[in-house]
Symmetry: C2
Subunit: 364 residues, 2 copies
DNA sequence: CTGTTAGCGCATTCAA
DNA sequence: TTGAATGCGCTAACAG
C-alpha cells in the first residue's frame, strides 16, 4: 500500500562515520553548539558538505519539540489585500529561518478545523488573518500556542490583535473630503460585524461631527468589501436618489466598483463626484483616476505579527505594536461642485452593458 | 536555553491505556486500518474523543516517511495572479488532507534555497509557480521528489509543466481585435525570457499573419508585467509617435497601466484606442471600461497541479493536463476608428499629475 | 485480530 | 570535550 517510504539518504550517522566522531558531536556542530574542538568541528562541516547532507527537520522537530514552523490562516489568498499580508509574514518568517504552513479558511467552522490541522502539525505559533473567532474561542483550541490576530473580523478582543488606527485613518480621509468642500458624503462600509468596517465608519462619522456636518443615515450603506459589492451599493445609492458629492468606500475594491457604477451613470470623477477608498491596494495608483486612499502598511503588519509570535515562542512577552495609516491623496478626489446634485452626461449606449459587470472576477 | 519543550499532552499510549488495548491497535484504528474488532475500535475512538487527542503529525511523518505536506514556491503572493494559483493549490491540498508549506522567492538563488528548505521539511511534493529554474536544475536539487511547474518563467522544458494554450489565447484575442477593424495593433509583451510572454506574442503575430496584416516591430514593446511597466511602455509608444488603434497587453496589470497612460494623453478607450489584456485578473471586470481579456483558469490550474503531484507521490504516473483559455470580450475594445491616428482631446490639466503614477503600488 | 519489538533521524541527558 | 544511551510519538513488521 505504501509504495516507497523514502528514507533519508544521508544522516548524521553517515557524517559521524566519515568524520570519525560520534553522532552526538555531529548534532552539536550542526546546531552551532559551543564546546567542540575546532578540528572535529571542521571535520564534521567538511563531511556534511561532501555528503551533501540535508538535515531532516521532521526528525529535528520531533526530538526537540519545536517545529520551526508558524501557521497562518488567510481568508482568501486571491485578493491582494490578504496576499500582501501573507507576503509580509512569509518573508519575515523566512528571515528567521522559520517556515510557513498556510491554510485558507473563511467560515468559522473551516477556521476551526484549519487551526486543528495546523496544530497537529505542531506549529510553534500562529498568525491569524481576518479571523472570525474570538480570542477565547481560539485559545480554547490552540491551548498554549502563541497566536496573533491581524485584521480580525471580530469586534471583541484586542488582546491578541495588532491594531491599525483605522478610525484615525478614516477621520483623516474624511477631513480631506471636507476640506474640499464636500458636505454630503456617502459611505460604503464593509460588513459591520468586522472591526475594521466599524472603525472606519466611526472615523468617518467623527470627522463629520467635528466639522459640524450632519450625517445622513441614508448615505451610509453596507457592502461586502468586494468590487461587485461596491458597484451594487453605489447603484443603490444612486437609485434611491440620494444627493452626494463624494463617496468614501471602506476599501479600494469597493471604491473601484463605485467608480464603475458612477461611470455607468455618466458621472465623471472627480468632476461630478469624488471617490476615495481605503487600503492603498496594489491597483489603487493605477485606477483612472488614480484613487485617493489610505495606506495600511500590510506588509509591515505581517512582519510585525511574525516578530511578535516568534518572540512569544521564545518565551518573551512581546507587546503588540500598533500601526498608523497614511493618507494618499491622488486624483479621484477634487473640489465639491457648487450644485449638490451631480450633473450627468448622457450615458453612452452600450450593447454589452448588461453583461459587463457580471461577477466574472475571481477564479473558481 | 530551551524554555519549554512542549510535550504532547496526550499520546496514543494514553488512549491505549484508557481503552484497554495496545498502542499499535490505537494506531491502527486512528489510521483507519481494517482488521480491528468493532468493540475495540469503538473503545479507542471514544477514548480518543474523551481525551481530546490530537495526533502528532510530526511523529507520524517521521515514522511513516511521508509528511503529508506539499511545498509551493510563489514569486509574489501580493499579486492576485499568483494569489489565485496559491488559492487553488491550497484548497486542493486541503481536500486531500495535505498541508501547504509556502515559500516565496524571486531570484534564482532564493529559489534554490527555498527549495532546499522545503526539502529539509520533507515535503512529499512540490508545486513551483513562476520558476526561473530549468527542469534539470530543479531535479538536481530535489532528487526524487515529484514536482510540477506552473506558469514557469523559463523557456525550455515542458516535461514538468502544466501548459496553458497561451498562443491560442493570444491568437483568439488578436482575431477579435482584427475583426473590429484594427490593423495597427500595439503589443506590450512581458519579459521575453518567460515562456508565457513569448507564447502570447507569437500568438499575436500568428493572428496578424493569417489575416495578412503586416506586423510593425516598432509596435511591439517589452515590459515587466507590472502596471507601472504597462504605463511606461504605452508612454514610450505614444512618445515615439507610433500610430495604432489598439493595444494588446500581455497581462491585465500592464493593460491597466496602458489605460492610465492613454487617459493621460486624453485618449478615450475604446473610442480612440482599444485595449485588451490577458489573465482576467480579479479587477479586469471592474476597470473602466471593463477590460477585454483572456481568461486563464488559474485556480483550476492550481488544483490540477496538486492532483498531478499527489498522484506522483502515490507512485502513479500522472499526465499533466493542458488548459485552454477563454476570450472575455468586455468594453475596452471596440471598432477601429476610420482615421489611423487616434484623435486627442485636450488633456485636462492636473496639478498633481507628476506624482500620480509614482510606484506607490505594492507594499514593502 | 492483537500485542511486542524495533526503529524513523535527531537532540539531549549522563558519564567518562 | 566527547560518546553512549535514551526517548520524542508514532508506524510497521513480526510473532502469537
Amino acid at each position: 500500500m505504501d509504495p516507497r517510504r523514502r528514507k533519508q539518504p544521508v544522516t548524521i550517522y553517515d557524517i559521524a562515520y566519515r568524520a570519525g566522531v560520534s553522532p552526538a558531536t555531529v548534532s552539536r556542530v550542526l546546531r552551532g553548539a559551543s564546546g567542540v574542538a575546532e578540528a572535529k568541528r571542521q571535520a564534521v562541516v567538511d563531511a556534511a558538505a561532501e555528503l551533501r547532507y540535508r538535515p531532516n527537520l521532521i526528525a529535528q522537530d520531533l526530538a526537540s519539540g519545536r517545529s520551526q514552523t508558524v501557521g497562518m490562516i488567510v481568508p482568501d489568498a486571491a485578493h491582494s489585500f490578504w496576499g500582501s499580508l501573507l507576503k509580509g509574514v512569509e518573508e519575515a518568517l523566512h528571515s528567521f529561518s522559520y517556515h510557513l504552513l498556510m491554510a485558507s479558511a473563511q467560515l468559522p467552522d473551516g477556521e476551526r478545523s484549519a487551526l486543528d490541522l495546523l496544530l497537529r502539525h505542531q506549529v510553534d505559533g500562529l498568525v491569524l488573518a481576518g479571523s472570525t473567532l474570538a480570542d477565547d474561542g481560539i485559545a480554547a483550541i490552540v491551548g498554549e500556542t502563541p497566536f496573533v490576530n491581524v485584521c480580525r473580523r471580530r469586534l471583541a478582543g484586542t488582546a491578541s490583535r495588532i491594531v491599525v488606527y483605522n478610525r484615525a485613518g478614516a477621520r483623516e480621509l474624511t477631513r480631506h473630503l471636507l476640506s474640499l468642500g464636500h458636505r454630503r458624503i456617502a459611505h460604503i462600509c464593509g460588513p459591520l460585524w468586522q472591526a475594521d468596517s466599524v472603525d472606519r465608519r466611526d472615523g468617518f462619522l467623527e470627522a463629520l461631527a467635528e466639522a459640524g456636518v450632519e450625517s445622513d443615515p441614508g448615505l451610509i450603506v453596507e457592502a461586502d468589501f468586494s468590487m461587485q459589492g461596491g458597484l451594487a451599493a453605489t447603484q443603490r445609492l444612486l437609485a434611491a436618489g440620494h444627493e452626494f458629492t463624494a463617496v468614501f468606500a471602506g476599501n479600494d475594491e469597493m471604491a473601484m466598483g463605485a467608480l464603475l457604477a458612477l461611470d455607468r451613470e455618466g458621472l465623471v470623477v472627480p468632476r461630478d463626484v469624488s471617490v476615495a477608498g481605503y487600503d492603498d491596494d496594489i491597483f489603487a495608483a493605477f485606477c483612472r483616476p488614480p484613487l485617493t486612499t489610505v495606506r495600511q502598511p500590510l506588509y509591515e503588519i505581517g512582519q510585525a505579527a511574525v516578530r511578535s509570535v516568534l518572540a512569544r515562542v521564545e518565551g518573551e512577552d512581546a507587546a503588540l505594536p500598533s500601526f498608523a495609516t497614511a493618507l494618499r491623496v491622488r486624483e479621484s478626489t477634487g473640489p465639491a461642485r457648487p450644485r449638490t446634485r451631480a450633473r450627468r452626461r448622457p450615458a453612452t449606449p452600450r450593447a454589452r452593458a448588461g453583461t459587463a459587470w457580471k461577477p466574472v472576477s475571481g477564479p473558481r
